[in-house]
């Protein structure tokens, strides 16, 4: 039984990993874009982003998942997500990407704003363009500063993926829970915790390795 459960949970964990990694792939760059837009001097650009961030951070992710999946069908009488597992996964991914982009944006913004203005001015007097200054001088310093808060947020994401099951997205908790119905046992559900624990342990190690790697400058 233990082997059967473990194999089944591993399969479910692949679903968790897929949602986790795809969220990161999209939300890490999108968060940076939102941060840059939020800091724009043009109100027309910064105001909508600020509103979005307020809105997304001010409501539960659970609710955002439901609205993302059922909203379009309810409002426009058109389920844009299509039917079946693929559609539900796409809706969940969209909700996660938007949610995490907003949190990441605030982390990026904090990091960017913590870089002393003298770094930009040194770039200006050397005749560099704004793009060169950002990509060649500022960005790596920002990365170094945001590794700790980012790792915190990313480890939260590992566990937040379990929320996707409110719109019936297949992941590890879903799998664990199914054993209650099919076999009348609850321990597989508890057992899922071990998977989260090991994975976040690996992530923690990866982040401290990254921190160490960036330790060559101050």
């Amino acid at each position: 039984m233990f082997v059967t459960v473990t194999l089944s949970l591993l399969k479910g964990f692949l679903g968790t990993l897929k949602l986790f990694s795809l969220t990161l792939v999209f939300a890490l760059p999108l968060g940076l874009l939102l941060a840059l837009m939020e800091m724009s001097k043009r109100k027309l650009i910064s105001a909508p982003v600020r509103f979005l961030i307020w809105w997304i951070r001010g409501t539960p992710l659970l609710l955002q998942l439901l609205v993302m999946y059922y909203g379009p069908g309810y409002i426009f009488h058109n389920n844009i997500w299509g039917s079946g597992d693929g559609g539900r996964f796409a809706a969940a991914l969209a909700a996660f990407v938007i949610n995490y982009s907003c949190y990441f944006a605030e982390i990026y913004r904090g990091g960017i704003q913590s870089i002393p203005f003298g770094q930009y001015e040194a770039g200006y007097v050397l005749g560099l363009t704004k793009n060169q200054i950002f990509t060649r001088i500022i960005f790596l310093q920002v990365i170094k500063r945001i590794v700790p808060p980012m790792s915190n947020e990313i480890i939260t994401l590992v566990k937040d993926t379990s929320l996707a099951r409110v719109i019936a997205v297949y992941e590890i908790i879903w799998n664990g829970q199914s054993f209650i119905k099919s076999a009348g046992i609850i321990w597989p559900l508890f057992y899922t915790g071990a998977f989260y624990l090991i994975f976040s342990g690996l992530l923690t190690m990866a982040f401290s390795a990254l921190e160490k790697k960036l330790d060559y400058f101050r």
Binding site: A122, V125, L126, G127, T129, F217
Partner: protein
Amino acid sequence: MAFLDTEHIRKSFGETEVLQDISFHMEQKTVLSIIGSSGSGKTTLLRCLNFLETPDEGIIRLNGEELFNGREQQKFSEAEVRAKRMHFGLVFQDFNLFPQYTAIENVMLAPKLLGTYGDQKAIEENAKRLLADMGLENRMDNYPHQLSGGQKQRVAIARALALSPDILCFDEPTSALDPELTGEVLRVIRELAKQDTTMIIVTHEMEFARDVSDYIIFMDNGHIEEEGTSEEVFYHPRSARTRQFLSSYKDEA
């Protein structure tokens, strides 16, 4: 017409007029020092020359080319401002080295990115020569946090020189250094003066300014209170305010 002409520069921050009608001239291969108490507008003037601030009024002309004219309400593109900046180099009070790059990478970064300073090899050789001139041949591969303040500032000077600016500006280059390290930076600047580098130096080091400068400007409250040769300003000041300012330094010494 002088090499650098600035005429009737004015600059306000809100209600405060930081620069009130500043005009001065300097020739190539000379050293101009700007002295004065904190808040007198020295740094702002230097920042205007480097286009880190835009004057409200006035004209800046370099080698006959009009870089700025406040009357014409010009809006320069980013590329135009960068081209104008290239005439000047600026060494900051707090160095502003790039922490993720070694000393030599700091010096090479801009020439490499600008693409008009020859190939990689030429840029590297030039950087090595400049750092050696600064007495840093053994420090080229150190990161800024591994360097003392004086060494950092010398890297910053090499970094500015790597772009061969027409005029190299210093904004209180030793104010962030303790007295022991001040000497090594001042020595390097003296050496540059000997090699006929055109420099504008904002400094609180009076003895140094007196020795190294061809011309001195004493600024007070946003205007030029007195100007003249080193000899004139330091030994025969005409203005009572200048005498008062200089005597405050003598008391200290």
